[in-house]
């Protein structure tokens, strides 16, 4: 009996191994087994905060196109949930894989720092994009726009929509995401400076879960009867909030602004459930990251105001080794159809 059990076990694991290799080759966004080292092509790995979110996937598409142009081998993998511990594991594996460039969107600035320092020590070019780690842990930070510009910009949008006075609430992905806290800091500063009689009533999290964003918005509207505006600071939260506003048919009474992709918000901008969605051209962010990766590999240091094809002029702050792509982009009813990401 025992021998038979062992044979069945071996047969089974052969089956799993075949399945494994099958997955290895078939899944679209991953190249052949990491032949990079053999064919001499530079391997560039991009690790988003979470894999499977429309925002990061569109950004990766942008980077992938240009990686082919530059003859890089592009590897895109990340944690299946926005979990700092999982992200560090994946970065660790990529270090052992000896990739040439590592581009990371940090779930948590402090948690990725040690792993990125190890990567730099191993001679890997380390860049961060979208969300920075501690400056000493990376060679370059591709920032779509500075938190200050973004924070003040969103506050201006809120003020413009609710007419300079009244109550508004902030809906975030999850409070622990470090860049959200920085944006909120600048929003408060902008509000204190320019809009004294706007008051922030609460900051509610939606934990990257659309259902929660929907339910939170419904409850916010009820908990704060004279709420006039909502700022939803994540590509998951704003569509959820918009859907809730539509359901409660408070379109027009509650003004919604925030950060979201045009595709995700198109129907809500048209229906008026949302007034504007601010973001940046995510595809360009991917392109810019890849372009800068090539610069670093060729040993060139970026200069302020340099011209990047298809992206345009970008600012470079040498002290913080930070590239700023430019002003944030507002998508509204009128211009949303010209964008597709």
């Amino acid at each position: 009996m025992k021998a038979k059990k062992t044979v069945t076990m071996l047969l089974v694991f052969m089956f799993i191994a075949l399945l494994l290799t099958g997955c290895g080759s078939s899944s679209s966004n991953a190249p052949k087994a990491d032949s990079g080292a053999k064919t001499g092509k530079k391997v560039v790995a991009m690790v988003p905060k979470v894999i499977g979110s429309p925002y990061f996937d569109t950004c990766a598409e942008g980077a992938k196109k240009v990686a082919a142009e530059f003859g890089f081998e592009f590897l895109y993998t990340g944690p299946t949930s926005a979990d700092a511990a999982q992200q560090v594991n994946i970065i660790q594996d990529l270090i052992n894989k000896k990739v040439d460039v590592l581009i990371v969107a940090a779930n948590d600035a402090q948690s990725v720092a040690p792993a990125l320092k190890k990567a730099k020590a191993a001679g890997i070019k380390v860049m961060t994009y979208d969300a920075d780690s501690t400056p000493d842990a990376r060679d370059l930070f591709i920032n779509q726009t500075t938190p200050e510009i973004l924070g003040r910009h969103i506050m201006d949008n809120v003020a413009k929509e609710i007419g300079g006075s009244g109550e508004y609430a902030i809906l975030t992905a999850s409070l622990t995401a470090s860049n959200q806290n920085v944006w909120i800091k600048w929003m408060k500063e902008q509000q204190a400076a320019k809009y004294p009689n706007i008051t922030l009533v609460t900051i509610a999290p939606s934990e990257e879960d659309q259902q929660k964003a929907f339910a939170q918005t419904q409850n916010l509207v009820k908990a704060y009867p004279n709420l006039k505006g909502i700022a939803a600071l994540s590509t998951v939260a704003e569509p959820g909030a918009a859907q809730a506003i539509e359901q409660l048919n408070v379109i027009g009474k509650i003004k919604l602004v925030g950060l979201a992709t045009p595709n995700g918000m198109r129907q809500y901008l048209k229906s008026g459930a949302a007034q504007s969605a601010t973001l940046w051209d995510v595809g360009k962010l991917g392109y810019l990251s890849m372009y800068m990766a090539k610069q670093l590999l060729d040993g060139k240091t970026p200069t302020d105001g340099m011209e990047v094809p298809t992206v345009g002029k970008v600012a470079y702050k040498a002290d913080n080794k930070e590239i700023i792509m430019g002003e944030p982009l507002d998508f509204t009813k009128e211009n949303v159809d010209t964008f597709n990401f």
């Binding site: 997955c23 966004n29 499977g52 979110s53 659309q210 259902q211 409850n219 859907q243 359901q247 995700g264």
Partner: protein
């Protein structure tokens, strides 16, 4: 009247009333009809799945893969809805069929290979979620057609469609459990598994039916899920199974099998819904919600065990005839 008082559902109903009264004292907006309606509307999906989970738990089984089943069915319903020419019937069919297929897989592994339900559903939870994310590669299903999303907020004769669907599900489940041989066999299997097969119940079939039915209801719930949110995230439903199991257990179902009523589970769903809504209305930080839900579940379960223990104590008696005195006459 007093046996009504002893009934578990009545105790839970009183608990629900007490909680609601406390909340409405603090925030008057709680008792407004629109808020109560939104509590119900927000928990329809939980209620539908709680009906299926009640039957699973009555047979002393458990299903932790329903969260992944919800996501799996919701994505496929969404994809089908996007196909031009599809209508409500095709969407309904795909939802229910995909739910049944996943549920049956659990049922076959549990009834056929006799593997404990907790471990099988733990495995299938990862299999369903993993294969779904692999298939969709994480892409969301967006821009669902208007006829589909309108399913959620249109009303027929004043009653929103989701509530009608919930009432239908409750009706069908009630009919099955109270008026069919299969339904009573579910309770018989939970009450006394050893004897069930002796009275001619095919225990394997009953187990498979229960898990397939759970899948079917999850399919129906997934249709409403997509209609409510208009865009479907492949990670939808993650750890939702914990809410479903908590609602059914708070409602009085006994994990060891044999007892569990639909009414009790519905009250459990309402208690969870009221707590979550109340906490936000009372402007308490949302994080207290986990503390409150966790504590409610622990107290409900502990009370259940303690007073069951008292009833058992009274039962274990060998009748000793009083009139036989010591050293009695022979």
């Amino acid at each position: 009247m007093n046996d009504l008082l002893k009934k578990r559902e009545f105790v839970m109903f009183m608990m629900l009333m007490v909680i609601s009264i406390c909340i409405s004292l603090i925030t008057p907006t709680f008792l407004t009809p629109s808020n109560l309606l939104s509590i119900v509307m927000n928990n329809i999906i939980l209620a539908i799945m709680a009906m299926g989970m009640t039957l699973v738990i009555v047979t002393s089984g458990i299903d932790v893969s329903v969260g992944s089943q919800l996501g799996f069915a919701a994505i496929f319903v969404g994809l089908v809805a996007l196909i031009p020419g599809s209508n409500i019937l095709t969407v309904l069919a795909v939802g229910i069929v995909s739910g049944i297929v996943l549920g049956l897989l659990n049922g076959i592994l549990i009834a056929g290979a006799e593997i404990p339900a907790i471990v099988v559903t733990l495995g299938t939870m990862n299999i369903f979620r993993g294969s779904l994310l692999l298939y969709t590669n994480g892409k969301w299903v967006t821009a669902l057609p208007a006829w589909y999303t309108s399913l959620y907020n249109t009303s027929v004769m004043g009653i929103p469609i989701p509530i009608i669907i919930l009432l239908l599900v409750i009706g069908v489940t009630y009919f099955i459990t109270q008026h069919t041989r299969l339904g009573r066999s579910i309770y018989a299997l939970g009450g006394n598994p050893a004897i069930a097969s002796r009275v001619g119940i095919n225990t394997g079939m009953v187990t498979m039916f229960v898990f397939a039915y759970m899948g079917a209801l999850t399919g129906i719930a997934s249709i409403l899920y997509g209609a409510q949110l208009a865009t479907i995230d492949p990670n939808a439903g993650t750890s939702f199974e914990l809410m479903v199991i908590s609602a059914v257990v708070i409602g009085g179902a006994n994990v060891l099998g044999g007892s569990g009523s639909l009414l009790g589970s519905l009250i459990g769903v309402l208690i969870l819904g009221v707590l979550q809504n109340g906490i936000i209305l009372m402007r308490i930080e949302p994080y207290w919600q986990n503390v409150v839900v966790g504590l409610t579940l622990i107290t409900a379960v502990t009370l259940d065990v303690v007073n069951n223990r008292k009833k058992e104590e009274r039962k274990k008696v060998i009748y000793v005839a009083e009139e036989v005195k010591a050293g009695g006459s022979v």
